[in-house]
Symmetry: C2
Subunit: 122 residues, 2 copies
DNA sequence: ACGTATTATTGACAATGTAATAAATAAAGG
DNA sequence: CCTTTATTTATTACATTGTCAATAATACGT
């Protein structure tokens, strides 16, 4: 039965738990400012974090992020270079920025005091 | 009805991408040193990151982390206080520490340059 | 012995991670 | 022209992680 309609959990903004990859995509978009589209985001994540992901991984995540209102997108001006569908550019919404900062802060607190003591003598 | 050949998808260490919660659990265990058992880990995450999770969420993650060799565990000395099963204490393995540092480093690079500019004027 | 408090374990399902594959679109080349 | 090829977005499918509810174990108090 699912007659409920309140239960806003799992709907709007997953209550503050962004996945690691979602965070990376969000951060890449922020870095790219006005040039955040699929391929560029992929490259950014590869260069910065050293994580090579397929382009589809990027897009799927982007779609989900948009569904949750953490990013917005618009189609590019009709000036394609060589072919391909019109580029879709993304921007992080204020809500997205907050979610990002929240995740960062939570992790910072978890790391607090361990910064340089993550060594074990075995 | 089950043509699958016993499914041996038991990978060694999932390519090195820890989930955010897995990281928190790992970090909590590190903080707790010699007192890292279920309830304590739960409390640690709640107090530090402000994330209140059910005890089962903790355990399930712990089990998976152990399957991947990122933590080890042993049962406590038979000196329970009030009742309950013997406590199971966890420690992070060297591999776990490395995975943790890797994740941290990747995120740090993604944040690099945005630390205090996550504000948008729109 | 029985109920209760304390801890661990299992089962089920939602959310996120990731890749293979498809679709769209326009320049290039014969 | 029309077929090929390059560029980019979108969809489908399945694996891994996140999360909680329910259950099992175990020892203390009465």
């Amino acid at each position: 039965m699912n007659t409920s309609k309140s239960v806003d959990r799992g709907k709007v903004v997953g209550q503050g738990s962004l996945g690691e990859f979602e965070q990376m995509v969000l951060l890449a978009v922020l870095h790219l400012e006005d040039d955040a589209y699929g391929a560029a985001i992929q490259r950014e994540i590869d260069e910065r974090a050293g994580r090579r992901r397929t382009i589809s991984a990027i897009y799927v995540t982007l779609v989900r992020l948009q569904d949750k209102g953490l990013v917005e997108s618009r189609l590019a001006d009709p000036t394609p270079v060589r072919g391909g569908k019109a580029k879709r550019f993304f921007t992080v919404t204020p809500v997205g920025v907050v979610a990002l900062e929240d995740s960062r802060q939570a992790m910072d607190r978890m790391w607090e005091g361990l910064e340089s003591s993550t060594r074990r003598a075995d």
